[in-house]
């Protein structure tokens, strides 16, 4: 039988070329774009380039909107992932059997068919003052006019953004946790722990949650990265201040003032550094590279 794993150095030239081409298709465009962004932010390229300068990076420390957008985006992503994980864990553990394999399990697939713009439209229709929740509040006598309904969208805390992303993520995470529950044979480990004297809380704390969360960590990291760089939902449900990082980068890029453009690319470079570091941490403990 041939050797399953091959080394680059022993590859024939045509196979090496194929490897380079296959890698280039996915790796070159992002790094080309990010390299350009970094070079632009350092004054090396662009319409107003004057040679290497750290001025834009130094300015970053003085401008509050970039740091505020970074902090706001990180906070929104962290709260969304935490909220969605807690809800999905609770619901999947409590309703796993009740949902079964029929209508219940099928219903969880419905939110998978909702893109961000549709989630934003639904969020707008449900969470706005004159939306579904506002109308319910009016019928219950809690408010007399739409303006009295608490601001859940276009608010400075990003509540609408968090709610919309959480609503999209919970069914997906429920499917993930339900599947992991079966694949990781958690029921069997839980039964073993109970036989050894563990009570229900100890089984949950020491067996079920660690197993589920450890296996779900890469997916949760991708969810964090997705919300951190989200565009459509913050664009349609977010306030003008503070902005999510994608909105700020896009706004600074689209301004007529070309002096703002290095900042847009600087934001992109910082964003990419954070996301790529996160992905590296989450996926570096993948199954070993050698197979066979």
């Amino acid at each position: 039988m041939r050797i399953f794993a091959r080394s680059f150095s022993t590859e024939p030239a045509h196979r090496r070329l194929r490897l380079v081409l296959c890698a280039a298709l996915a790796v070159v465009p992002p790094f080309l774009g990010l390299g350009y962004a970094l070079a632009y932010s350092l004054g090396l390229v662009g319409a107003l380039a004057t040679g290497f300068t750290g001025e834009h990076w130094a300015k970053l420390l003085r401008t509050s909107d970039v740091t505020r957008a970074l902090g706001f985006s990180l906070a929104v992503a962290a709260v969304t992932v935490a909220l969605a994980t807690v809800l999905a864990l609770g619901l999947s553990l409590a309703l796993r059997r009740a949902l079964g394999r029929g209508l219940g399990a099928t219903a969880l697939f419905v939110p998978l068919a909702l893109p961000g713009v549709v989630a934003a439209l639904i969020g707008f229709q449900f969470l706005g003052g004159a939306g579904v929740l506002g109308r319910l509040a009016w019928h219950l006598g809690w408010i007399a006019a739409p303006q009295e309904f608490p601001a859940l969208i276009f608010d400075r805390h990003g509540l609408g953004i968090v709610i919309a992303h959480t609503a999209l993520a919970v069914p997906l995470l429920m499917l993930l946790f339900t599947r992991l529950h079966a694949n990781e044979r958690i029921d069997e480990f839980a039964a073993l722990a109970r036989t050894l004297g563990a009570n229900r809380l100890a089984v949950l704390r020491r067996v079920t949650l660690p197993l589920l969360l450890r296996r779900a960590a890469p997916s949760l990291s991708l969810l964090f990265a997705g919300v951190f760089g989200a565009y459509e939902i913050p664009l349609l449900l977010g306030a003008q201040r503070p902005e999510m990082i994608s909105i700020l980068a896009r706004r600074k890029f689209a301004l007529f003032d070309l002096h703002q453009r290095p900042e847009a690319f600087l934001i992109a470079a910082i964003y990419a550094a954070i996301v790529l570091t996160l992905v590296w941490i989450a996926f570096r403990k993948q199954p070993p590279a050698h197979v066979g």
Partner: protein, 265 residues
């Protein structure tokens, strides 16, 4: 008694009620959008519309608003992106899977997939301008392909395992040529996962907003852009109709093919 019915008996009523509430919540957005697209004068504080009308759908399907064109444009772009990405991803996943640094390649493939399309699109805009691709369907397809290709590799790399390699070797030992090995052994085995990769990359393109807005410069009239246009102009009925056009095809596919849905999830 089947295992399912035994489970149903064991489940307590609060859990059954909770499951029912969750099912209703999952379907609520679709039902609400359908009602909104049919509603007539649905003003605050009415909980239900005073009447229903097909006027929005007549307008949407008449073609004057270009919704039919948008649907066709979105479908064509998504089909092209999914076909190209699945084919290229199939080839590339084999190259990476049999390489000794397989883990590193998988990690590298996550780079475009994890980045925000709007931010990466903005960074790549200069190169797309130089290539004359901005504001064109070709530009949107090329930009979406970067993301879809990486995702297809991530989905398909798991297919190439020692068992498949052994089957390929066995077929070759029995005298099969390269084409026969592909046609008779590899393709039939890979078909379910190829379907998942095709479906997922189709969705990636079908749901895309950021790249269509940045690289397409708003000139490629895909459905996602139309939803925001209608929302911006305050025409929520047409936005709802447009949103339904966006969600019904993938929803129908997910519900008709549960296996695809489970693998896709």
């Amino acid at each position: 008694m089947s295992a399912d019915s035994a489970n149903a008996i064991a489940v307590s009523w609060p859990r059954r009620a909770g499951a029912t509430a969750l099912i209703v919540l999952c379907w609520l957005p679709v039902a609400y959008l359908a009602l909104l697209s049919l509603a007539r004068d649905w003003a605050f504080p009415a909980l239900l519309p005073p009447g229903l009308t097909l006027a929005t759908w007549r307008r949407a399907l008449a073609g004057n608003d270009g919704l039919v064109t948008s649907f066709a444009t979105s479908a064509l772009i998504a089909l092209l992106v999914a076909t190209l990405a699945t084919a290229a991803g199939g080839v590339a996943s084999r190259v990476f899977a049999y390489h000794r640094h397989r883990g590193w390649w998988v990690l590298a493939m996550h780079a475009p997939f994890a980045l925000s399309p709007v931010i990466l699109g903005t960074c790549l805009l200069y190169f797309f301008i130089r290539l004359g691709l901005v504001g064109s369907s070709a530009g949107v397809i090329a930009a979406q392909f970067i993301f879809a290709y990486a995702y297809a590799v991530i989905v398909l790399i798991g297919f190439w395992n020692p068992h498949v390699a052994a089957l390929e070797d066995l077929a070759r030992t029995l005298g099969a040529g390269r084409r026969q090995v592909f046609q008779r052994v590899v393709f039939p085995l890979a078909r379910p996962l190829l379907a998942v990769a095709f479906f997922q990359t189709f969705l990636l393109s079908w749901f895309d907003y950021g790249l269509a807005a940045v690289i397409g410069a708003g000139k490629v009239p895909v459905l996602t852009l139309r939803v925001t246009e209608y929302m911006g102009s305050g025409n929520v009925q047409l936005a709802a109709a447009c949103a339904l056009l966006l969600i019904v095809p993938p929803l129908a596919l997910l519900l008709l093919n549960r296996r695809l849905a489970i693998l896709a999830a």
